[in-house]
């Protein structure tokens, strides 16, 4: 076959390694752990949302750049509470879409990609603060086993949200 111009092909094992690191898929056990845990979390969605977003904005001030149009970015402000709930409801909705996150979150991905244009690095930041909020509000339920399943789920959720970026 004649060789064409263009960037050199990446070694296959490097591509596979990268892909595996990012798309560790959910086992049946993970899905059950996530669904069971978030069933308990759902009634406290507002509090969890407030803690998550408040901490994201306060502990990682660079995230405030996406909310410069808000009057009050301090922890617990009305806008932070409202938007925190929006975010957590999004996560709860994604639990229901756990068997097809990419397909189910296409529209939300388009929103984040084309309208909001949130740098995907920030998904890791908000995920970490969601874990902190879950740990402090559900200390007994957030066991190491639940922690790993939720962490995997959030990573895949973030990946689905990044789908339409480029």
């Amino acid at each position: 076959m004649p060789t064409k111009g263009g960037p050199p092909a990446e070694p296959t094992d490097k591509i596979l390694f990268t892909a595996n690191r990012v798309t560790m898929s959910l086992t049946a056990k993970d899905k059950l752990a996530v669904k069971t845990f978030f069933d308990k979390v759902a009634p406290k969605a507002e509090e969890i949302g407030n803690e998550t977003l408040s901490r994201t904005l306060f502990v990682y001030p660079q995230t405030k750049t996406y909310f410069a149009h808000w009057a009050d970015l301090s922890p617990g402000s009305p806008q932070v509470k409202k938007h925190g709930l929006t975010v957590v409801n999004g996560v709860l909705n994604a639990v229901g879409l756990i068997d097809d996150l990419k397909g189910g979150l296409l529209t939300l991905s388009e929103l984040h990609a084309f309208m909001l244009r949130v740098d995907p690095a920030n998904f890791k930041i908000i995920n970490h603060n969601l874990l902190v909020a879950l740990a402090l509000m559900f200390p007994d339920d957030f066991t190491p086993e639940v922690h790993v399943s939720v962490d995997k789920f959030l990573a895949l959720l973030s990946l689905a949200l990044s789908e339409k970026y480029r």
Partner: protein, 147 residues
């Protein structure tokens, strides 16, 4: 040179005052090894790491948890000079233990989750911010001697 406000110092000292090194150490390491299983590569000689229960009950992990927290305490006691305080530790992690520095962030995140779990609403955003800054400085110091 890292600048700490009086509030930040107080917040970080407050976290340590409430820390039970034994239980926090083992739980943080356990979560790290369970949530990020590839980190187990550094603990080949530690025996049974098969599941969370086994890791929590593993005496070598328990001992090592305390070692890690004592290391952090050293940073606390030398908050204005963490960089130089950790020169030898950084060399150790780089040359002898050969730990990928990316793992420091993973353990730090697990430690934060464990502290949040125990301190609950006492782990306010202010305290979390100071604590996060402290961990960033520690990780930077630990990474410094890598080449």
């Amino acid at each position: 040179m890292v600048k700490w406000t009086a509030e930040e110092r107080a917040a970080i000292q407050g976290v340590f005052a409430k820390l039970d090194y034994e239980s926090v150490g083992v739980e943080s390491l356990t979560r790290c090894l369970v949530v990020y299983p590839w980190t187990q590569r550094y603990f080949g000689g530690f025996g049974n790491l098969y599941n969370a229960e086994a890791i929590m009950a593993n005496p070598k992990i328990a001992a090592h948890g305390i070692v890690v927290l004592q290391g952090l305490e050293k940073a606390l006691k030398n908050m204005d000079n963490i960089k130089n305080t950790f020169t030898a530790l950084s060399e150790l992690h780089s040359e002898k233990l050969q730990v990928d520095p990316g793992n420091f962030q993973l353990l730090a995140d697990c430690l934060t989750v464990v502290i949040a779990r125990r301190m609950r609403t006492d782990f306010t955003p202010d305290v979390q911010a100071a604590w996060q800054k402290f961990l960033c400085v520690v990780i930077s110091a630990l990474t410094r001697q890598y080449y």
